[in-house]
């Protein structure tokens, strides 16, 4: 089967063992039956037999004493018929593996798994649905680490294609092994985008259960198409529900009642040409920004960004357009509008990584 790593591995290993076995049987067999030839010559004889070359310089007839001839010829016949057919079969599997791109693919998957194992504070998207792929697009655009999980290799392949910056894992997200491969222990948030609310509900419960068992600390975000399931989602332990149908209705209402051209806020939310987003960073303990007055922080000078709002960690209050005398503290959340480059600069400054 295409794609399944363990399955491919077994097939390849069997083919290699088969080839080694045939050659050893041939070599040791000739060496044992013919007294005049060396081990190397026996190997040579086996190879020219199995590859149907047969120069005729060494042969089980010419190089045998008269009394060795019968067993040597019988052995040669068996080797020619059974040995050659299984050699061709095994060689065929190996050739197919190399030429069909399976080898490349296998290496890529292995590399991907290795890279994913180094991720931390990353996002996991479950379901390569249209919604899931949209989220992945957005995260790619913002250069945030993420992994997509889907049961279907085809869906993942269709989305990722040859793009090496997309990390995905094929597997069942309710299976602990799949989740571990995706680095769930170090993940920051998990987004569930399965189309069926029943599947989502089951997944939320499984994730929550595993999280409590293993002490994992991710948050779960799920989309909930109907209001009927909201309560159940909450009971199952979801951290945030995206009410997809109501959002659609709200969007239609906004379109109905608003003036003709696009507003700033729409462009901020999803402009694909100019990657500018409203975004946030959290000030960490070690950041040079902690315990600094906003006017002395040099944020504007270093990043070109203006801080639109600050959420004070100690009081939980929002300060819009904070003035220069605001004292930044660790845990404060800074909200700004900016392009990718400046927001990465500010993220480094605030998180001190």
């Amino acid at each position: 089967m295409r794609g399944d790593i363990s399955n491919i591995n077994t097939k390849i290993v069997i083919a290699i063992i088969q080839i080694i076995l045939i050659f050893s049987i041939g070599t040791f067999g000739f060496n044992y039956l013919l007294n005049d030839i060396t081990l190397l010559e026996a190997l040579y004889l086996t190879v020219i037999t199995l590859t149907t070359v047969g120069y005729g310089d060494i042969s089980p007839y010419a190089n045998a004493h008269p009394d060795e001839r019968v067993p040597a010829l019988i052995f040669a016949i068996i080797l020619m018929i059974f040995g050659m057919s299984s050699f061709v079969y095994a060689a065929g599997i190996l050739t197919q593996y190399v030429t069909s791109g399976e080898l490349k693919r296998h290496q890529r998957l292995k590399k991907m798994l290795k890279k994913i194992s180094r991720f931390s504070e990353h996002y996991i998207i479950i379901g390569a649905s249209e919604t899931g792929c949209y989220i992945a697009d957005e995260l790619s655009l913002l250069k945030r680490p993420y992994v997509i999980i889907d049961t279907s290799f085809k869906a993942l392949d269709d989305y990722a294609g040859n793009d090496k910056s997309i990390y995905y894992i094929q597997g069942d997200a309710t299976d602990e092994k799949t989740l571990l491969k995706a680095g769930i222990a170090k993940a920051k948030r998990v987004a569930i985008t399965l189309p069926s609310p029943k599947d989502s509900l089951f997944l939320i419960m499984t994730l929550k259960e595993l999280a409590t068992k293993n002490g994992w600390k991710f948050e779960i975000i799920a989309k909930c198409p109907t209001a009927l399931f909201e309560k159940k989602y909450t009971m199952a332990g979801v951290d945030y529900i995206i009410k997809s149908d109501i959002s659609v209705a709200d969007q239609i209402i906004n379109e109905l009642y608003r003036p003709v051209s696009k507003t700033f806020l729409d462009r901020l939310r999803n402009d694909k040409t100019q990657i500018v987003r409203i975004d946030e960073v959290t000030v960490s303990d070690e950041s040079p920004l902690a315990n600094t007055l906003l006017k002395n922080s040099q944020i504007k000078k270093k990043t070109g960004l203006i801080i639109c709002a600050v959420k004070d960690f100690s009081t939980g209050n929002w300060h819009i357009n904070p003035d220069g005398d605001y004292l930044l503290g660790s845990g404060d959340i800074l909200v700004f509008v900016g392009n990718l480059k400046s927001s990465q600069k500010l993220r480094r400054l605030a998180e001190n990584v």
Binding site: S129, E138, I252, T263, G304, W318
Partner: protein, 263 residues
């Protein structure tokens, strides 16, 4: 001269017409809050065209003021009968994208100035077609949820904050778009010398007349030009410090689009 009858037609067989009506009318006395302003839709201004029996039943029960028509919207006669030629807007939401496309086309033919809002499932292939057929906005449910989920993943606090900030009228903050006309007293002034800086308002972005690009985080030395549209953030008392002229403009802009009204 074209005259509207103020009607909005909703047609479709998906679940969205029902959610739309719930969001429009189940908000009590307060009206619906859109990104820009609060509106008070009346049921008598809405016409629902659908052949989905379940939807007809629910709507007749819960929203008795709405005219419900049991018919296919792909039939031009039905649309004409319901006054499509004078209607304000139409929301088209069928499960089949081809049907959406067909109705968009015929609506645009029948009424060149109606606002057409259409939902679709295959956004990538359908969006350009629908726009070419005359749709004003194309809404993709999966994109909307993807957008919301991505925002929730990477910036949860900001999302919560914006939600509160934009969708609640009880808070003290406001974001406004302000148009700089040729008579504006701030014209030619740098941001730091303008009345916005004096009123402690934050100019977050400027959309300029001459380019499509939006200037974000404008430097305080930026000179305000005619045709600039500013995105301004601040507290309501600070907005009230602005001169009456600017305030008038600001109130005006809330209802009408700047570019649209001045040209």
């Amino acid at each position: 001269m074209y005259k509207t009858n103020g009607k909005t037609i909703i047609c479709g067989n998906t679940k969205y017409p029902l959610y739309l009506m719930q969001q429009l009318f189940n908000t009590g006395e307060e009206g619906v809050l859109t990104i820009r302003k609060r509106v008070f839709p009346k049921q008598k201004d809405f016409i629902l065209i659908t052949d989905e029996q379940e939807l007809i039943k629910t709507c007749s029960n819960s929203f008795s003021g709405i005219t419900v028509i049991n018919a296919e919207a792909s039939d031009d006669e039905v649309l004409i009968e319901q006054g499509i030629e004078n209607a304000d807007a139409i929301v088209i939401s069928y499960g089949d994208d081809r049907e959406n496309l067909l109705i968009t086309l015929s609506t645009r033919q029948l009424n060149p100035s109606i606002k057409i809002i259409v939902t679709c499932s295959m956004i990538e292939t359908m969006r350009p077609k629908l726009l070419r057929a005359g749709a004003d906005s194309v809404i993709s449910p999966s994109t909307i949820s993807g957008n919301k989920m991505a925002a929730q993943l990477v910036r949860p606090s900001t999302t919560a904050f914006l939600e509160e900030f934009l969708h609640s009228e009880n808070n003290n903050f406001s974001a406004q778009e302000i148009y700089i006309s040729k008579a504006d007293q701030n014209l030619g002034l740098t941001i730091i010398n303008s009345e916005y800086a004096r009123a402690s308002l934050l100019i977050l972005a400027i959309s300029r007349d001459d380019t499509d690009e939006i200037l974000y985080n404008p430097p305080s030395s930026y000179k305000l030009q005619k045709g600039d549209v500013l995105l301004v953030l601040g507290t309501i008392p600070n907005f009230q410090k602005l001169s009456p002229y600017t305030q008038y403009h600001l109130k005006d802009l809330e209802i009408d689009d700047p570019k649209y009204s001045t040209n």
